[in-house]
Structure formats: C-alpha cells, structure tokens
Amino acid sequence: MALRDETGPYFGEFGGRYVPESLVEALDELSEAWELAKLDPAFRAELDALLKDYVGRPSVVTEAQRFARHAGGARILLKREDLNHTGSHKINNVLGQALLTKRIGKTRVIAETGAGQHGVATATAAALFGLDCVIYMGEVDTERQALNVARMRLLGAEVIPVTTGSRTLKDAINDAMRDWVTNVEDTNYIFGTVAGPHPFPAMVRDLQKIIGEEAREQVLALTGRLPDAVAACVGGGSNAMGIFHAFLDDTAVGLYGFEAAGEGMDTLRHAATISRGRPGVLHGARTFLLQDEDGQTVESHSISAGLDYPGVGPEHSWLASIGRATYRGVTDAAAMDALRLLSRTEGIIPAIESSHALAGALELGRELGQDAVVLVNLSGRGDKDMETAGRYFDLIDAGAEQS
C-alpha cells in the first residue's frame, strides 16, 4: 500500500483515540462527516473557491538564490505559505474545518493556539462564516504574542488565557478539550495541527496536503525534476505533513523535519520530541512525547511559540519509526541566524517557526552539495515575531515607544 493512503486512526503503532468517553460521539460524528465531505464534489468546490479567492492559492514557489549561496551551492526553493491570507499555512486547515462545522450544524467553534497563528486563522474563519469563537491560549503565549491576541479580539473572538500547568500550548489544548467535553452539543473543536485523537491527524493532513501537491508540480515545472530534499519545521507537524505528503511515495526525495532544539539538544530546554522523546499518550494520540520516567509530560522550550509543544503528530512518529522521514534539531540561535539571513538576502522576513526549516535547509544544502534541489516550506511570515526578533537582535532603540 502506498504511504500516502494511510487514513488513520492508526499510523503503525501510533495514533488512536485516547480520550474521555464523552468525546467519542463527537469524534465519530466528525470522522463520518469528514469522510463524506471529502468525497462530496460540492464541498470540494466550495473549499477550492475559498482557497483561491480568499486565501490566494496556489501559493508561489520562490527560488532563493542569494540565500542559497550560504547553502553549499544547492538550489533552495521556498514554498510561500507566508503569503496566504492571515500569514501562514494554518488557514488551509481552518477553512476546511469551518466548512465542516457548518455542515454538521454547529454554531460555536473553539481552538487552541500557541504562536497565535492558528487562533488568528480560526477567528478569521469564524468571522467569515458567522460562528461564535473562543480561543484558548497559554498565558505565557498571550504575553509573547500580544499582537496576535489583539488580532483575534479584533476579529470578534474571545481569547481565554490559560493559567494551568506550564501555561503554554499543551495546557491550551487541555482547556479546549475540557470546553469541548462540556459544550459538545453546539461546539466544534477546530484543531490546529496533525496531532490529537482521530480524525484530527488525518483530517488536518488532508486539508494541508495541498501544500505539497502544489509544490511538487511547481518544482517539476521549474527544475524538470523532483527535489532531492524537502525541509519543514515540526512542532505538532501540520505544515510538515502538508508538504511531505505528496512526496511520501517518491522514495528518492528525502524528507526532513526540523524540531526546535531550543538551547541545545543536550540541555533540558528544547522541544525536540521525536529526537529526544519516547512513545506515550498525550492529547488523545499515541505518539512520541517529552515525558519523565513516570510518564508526566515534560515542559518543552523553544524561542518559537509555535514549536513549543512536547508532543508531535502520530503520522510523524510513524514516518520516523519506519525511516521514511528524518527528524533533526535546530537551536534557537541557528533559527534566528537563518531568520536574519533570509531577511537580508531575499527581503523576506520568515516566522521563527519557519526559520528552523531554513536553518535546516542550509545544513542540507551543504551536505547534498552543488546542484541539489532543496524545497523548503516557508510556513509563515515573521511580522508576529518582530518583538522577539527586535529584542534578540537588539534592533529596538532604548526608550522607543510605538506611537
């Protein structure tokens, strides 16, 4: 069977539904609705029209020639998900799930968010479709991504800062799950990544795989061949699954996921789930996770809120376990260097998340050498990260205040 044909609930020994019984009915309903919707030409047509006229798809592929000079002479091609409406790949998934919400007759949506990109995308779709919207966001993240909180509120969403546990993405997911258990009758949970219980890993991947499908054609048209390597950052892993999927059965194409190595893979402050974790159950799926010897989740660390997650999508765990994809770590410092390098060589300011993939691409280019083609998923733009970058590179004049 082709690797692309895996539909869940299990990916090898990973995946499943480790959830309270109260959620099973909602998950069954969602699975069934998704199976029907994805085969329904009317649903597909409505989603395709939104992706074209609202998101601006297809996103272009940009060759980064000046940036590539730092990558051992390899050709670096950027899949520009940063140019999507709302500034990242997250909108692809959200529009599909919002359409599905309408289809199953629910009127309220909830979502978790880390960096705020998924929350902004969900708030956007809720505004577009007239749905009530509540976003759960760890208190720590509301502080480091204050601008995205404002965006969500401007779009009409209620943002609830989560104060339990580590007050980051994982706790936002816990609180969103608690909300869903309580309000499942009128509420749909728009999950932001390829993690969580079935059907989320397969459904979110199905909605993100357009990235790889477009890019595969675009790279063929541009270079006359498939890329040697595809690089993407991995937190939960939705942009990576999105760009990997079309290439899963192209065995000559190397697939590389770059996890946040934070302050270093050998420190305790990283989010390198596959590289440093072991299999367990978190947020409804069996997958690799960062945990202590008692199975308590260990807090992750990354300069990028979007990668600061101690779990990972089960399909990635499976791809790692069968050796189809390779997962490596990129430190905060290497990612920030790549962010600055792309800004200065190409005039493109990438999200800190995506900068992990760019740093990885520099490494891959040097390994693969002249003439190699490396496709990078530039999953989001860096506007939301200006405060972090400004502080990191000391770009903001002391005492200056935005007026």
Binding site: G16, R17, Y18, V19, P20, E21, S22, V24, E25, A26, D28, T164, G165, K170, D171, N174, M177, R178, V181, T182, N183, V184, E185, G280, V281, L282, H283, G284, Q291, E293, D294, G295, Q296, T297
Partner: protein, 262 residues
C-alpha cells in the same frame, strides 16, 4: 471476584447504595492524603477512588486540577501511589481503586503496573481517558491479575458503546452524570437518570454516578436509581480548606445520603 462489586452489592441489598469518595495522592502532603483517605473510609465512604496526579488531566475541573498540580509540584512519584494504597488498605478494609490517566500506566509498563497494584492491595483502575477500543493491553493485564477495570459511560455514548462498556467493566461502570468535567454542580443532570436506565438495558450489574455530586441530598437522589454515588471535588475542597478533620466531617455528612448513618 471483585471486592468493589461485593461492597456495592451489600449496600444495594441493604436498601441504598454505595458512596465512592475521590481524593488525590500527595495532596496536601503524602501523609495527609493517606490520613484523609483513611478518615473518609471511617466516616462512611464505601469505596476509595485514589487519584494519581498527572500533568495533563483533561477530565478534571479547577478544584482537582489545583490539588493535583500542587502534589506534582511537591514531588509526587508513581511509587507514592502504590505506597498510599498499601498504607490505606493496612488501616481500613474498604477497597481502593486508582484513578489514573493512561500515560503514567503506559510509561510504567501496563503489566508491571498491574502487578505492583496487586502487591499494594489495590482493587483496580478507573481510567478516564482509556476507552475500551484502546484497552487491549489493560484488558489482558487485568484478566491475568483479577484487578477491577472501571470504564466510563457518557450520556452521549451510543447503545453499542454502552453494551461494550458493560461487557468490559468489572467492579462497576462509571456513569458520567453530565457532559463535562469534574466539579460540584447545583443539580445533577437529569441525563444521569436516563444514562443509568440505558445502562440497565445494556445489562449492567452495578453502575455508580459521578461528576457534580457534592451534597448528601444529591447522594440520596442518585442512589434512588443508581448503585453508587461518586464524590470528588467536594471532598478535595474540604481537605484543602479544613484538613483531615474537615474532609472526614464532609464524608460523614455525605454518607447520610446513603441512609445508613446520620
């Protein structure tokens, strides 16, 4: 045979039903959590549901989250869970079920966990985020060791899922009174009565209702149609605010709802 089922049967035969009391290990301290469990057993609680603190407790409301987070911050380890079961069962004869999210069990090793729980004198497990569909390893380990396995049933569960929950559960089936998480509520949902009736149709022998029960009056109402009433947050609040004496007094009051004391 299941000691939990025996206790429930005795209470039902006597004309009421069982009172199941939840407390987490390690809150406010390890010793006090053991003393509190012993005290509620001596005050009329028939079955102890002993919670293992976990970093990501998606079924728990604010009161229990705050307690278990504090226990974790103070260095709770899984080994303390087994030690607590041992110390409680040495002092009182009520059966003790562990309530645990699945990852700690998986991480410890399902078979090893089952063996150590038997050694400690525990009766079995309540597994809030393990549905029968994913429970193959636990079904095998509990079959081998004879431990009870309490699965949850929800108002939203299909008839087929209720039948499955009844088939695989031993001890009792945990009927979730309302759609939601743990925490006291002013009135226990009428959904509970309907769910218990559907569980009876599915052939359940014993079912206890939990989530939202905090007063003797609610215990009395629930025991009118169910075999047991499960109380958690109300006990944890009492322990948090007034220590072991307070939790014992709240347990004694709740036990009046079973019609045996007061």
């Amino acid at each position: 045979m299941s000691a939990v089922a025996d206790v429930i049967r005795t209470r039902v035969d006597a004309g009421s039903g069982a009172l199941v009391g939840y407390l987490p290990v390690g809150f406010p301290t390890f010793d006090e959590s053991v003393d509190a469990a012993v005290a509620i057993a001596q005050s009329g609680v028939d079955v102890i549901e002993l919670g293992l603190p976990y970093s990501d407790p998606v079924m728990d409301g604010p009161v229990i989250q705050a307690a278990t987070q504090q226990a974790l911050a103070r260095g709770f380890r899984l080994s303390h869970g087994f030690e607590a079961v041992r110390r409680i069962t040495e002092q009182v004869s009520v059966p003790v079920l562990l309530m645990t999210y699945w990852n700690p069990v998986l991480s410890y090793g399902v078979e090893r966990f089952a063996d150590d729980l038997v050694d400690a004198g525990g009766a079995g497990l309540i597994t809030p985020d393990l549905i029968p569909d994913e429970a193959e390893e636990w079904l095998a380990a509990s079959e081998r060791t004879g431990l009870d396995r309490v699965f949850l049933a929800a108002p939203s569960s299909s008839d087929a899922r209720l039948v499955r929950a009844v088939e695989v559960s031993r001890g009792f089936v945990y009927a979730v009174s309302t759609m939601g998480i743990t925490g006291a509520r002013s009135d226990v949902d009428s959904a509970a009565r309907g769910l218990v009736a559907r569980l009876r149709d599915a052939g359940v022998e014993h079912t206890c209702v939990g989530l939202g029960i905090s007063t003797a009056q609610q215990v009395r109402e629930v025991l009118d149609y169910a075999d047991g009433a499960i109380v958690g947050s109300a006990l944890v609040s009492a322990l948090s605010n007034g220590g072991v004496d307070a939790v014992a007094s709240v347990a004694a009051d709740l036990a009046t709802g079973t019609g045996r004391r007061g």
